[in-house]
Amino acid sequence: MSMDIFLQHLLNGISVGSLYALIAIGYTMVYGILLLINFAHGDIFMMASYFMIFAVVDFRMPIWLALPLIILLTIVLGMLLERSAYKPLRNAPRMSIMISAIGASYLFENLATYLFTGVPKGYPDIPWLTKVVNIGSISFQIVTVIAPVLVAAILIGLMALVNHTKTGMAMRAVSKDFETARLMGIKIDRVIAATFVIGSGLAAIGSVLWGAKYSSVYPLMGVMPGLKCFVAAVFGGIGNIPGAVLGGIVLGLGETLLVAFFPGLTGYRDAFAFVVLIVMLLVRPNGLLGEKTTDKV
């Protein structure tokens, strides 16, 4: 394999990994605060893709208008999910919330199939993301470089929010102890809602970048990315934001390079994530950057 081709794969891998990272952050933040695996997160990502199709194809909106609108709609959907499926179970056993999450996921998938049919639709073309650029013998879509840069900026912003703002301090407090956080005067429902806002917003951004790479939109499109990004979050240490980004990139890079070096294994691309998960759980159950202590499921 020549250097150019290797660089090409490297770039693709980091880029796919950045998309995984965006979705993985949502899993890890919700888990960090509620100790809940938000199984419906991948479906929120799927719904964001449909919102874009409706906005641009059905309502003929320009991209600059559709973009903030679909991010907003996805955030509203994420908040609705939290209010209706998780908030009523705040004091219930953790297993009940988990089952509610699985139910919500099925609800989204079946609702989408019922409303939008199972026939794949094409994601609208966003020229400034899909345009192909050539540098030497390497060629790539613009989205390939935008994704990692965007993820880096988002990571820096999120870390500043969590570690250096009052809201971030409240998030860290709520993640350890609901009751005592309440005694401090923190409105914990708001703090929890804020994590869903961030997670859903990032899922919406992820769906736009995803749509530029893989333009097929269908009701179950969130399942595999959802599972993989959950694996990425666990791999990096669930609850840990930089861990989710690292996990996403390692996963994206790993599966891309695997297929590049061993073309015969192309069919096993999706299996790679789960092999990584199993190995990680055996070797280092708390993930790469996870805390040592676990009182979590």
């Binding site: 350890k176 102890d177 005694l183």
Partner: protein
Amino acid sequence: MSNENILEISDLSVSYGGIQAVKEISFSVAEGEVVTLIGANGAGKSSTLRAITGLEKPSQGSIRFCGEELSGLSTDAIVEKGITLVPEGRRVFPNLTVLENLRIGAYMRRDDLTADIEWVCGLFPRLKERSWQKAGTLSGGEQQMLAIGRALMSRPSVIMMDEPSLGLAPIIVQGVFDIIKEINKQGVTILLVEQNANMALKAADRAYVMETGKITMSGSGKELLENDEIKTAYLGKAKKRA
């Protein structure tokens, strides 16, 4: 000392499922007082404090703060009115630094905290030395100081403490009671739940004794210290032969 009741509890009951942990108790705390609530394990002391802060929903009764009904309000709304609880078992946020724990105690305030942090660090010099340390790495006594300091940061008019001396060495316990007196002198009303009846009764203006969910005795701290039943049941002294 004013005679105005800042906190007035009447006919308060708290139930867990079918079990009634607090049974129609009534008591009051006047502004500027130190009032203590003593009683055996499981008597319902913590449940009472938790009901006052809205962490448990009372099944009946009223809780008035400066004449205003509190039952039914959310915890954040109650805390905002100026009542705070130092919870049983300290419950500092282990993943936050000492300084952040103090700051989060003042979560609802929007004004400058510098003076208050100075004040709390003056009361507990140990906290100042360790302000950058994660609270989870503090010793038990230091965590208790932090929990009290954190509660003070909200500038409460009433501070409730649930067994602040639990698990502390005698010398530290003395320190905690000194602080309680000091805080009270600075104008904060105190409702203290304690197992250490001897120290609590000495520090208190008035005291109530709770047994299996009911208040069975009340009086000034001094009266109860000299009461024979109290002596046998809570102060570990043998009953005098009649």
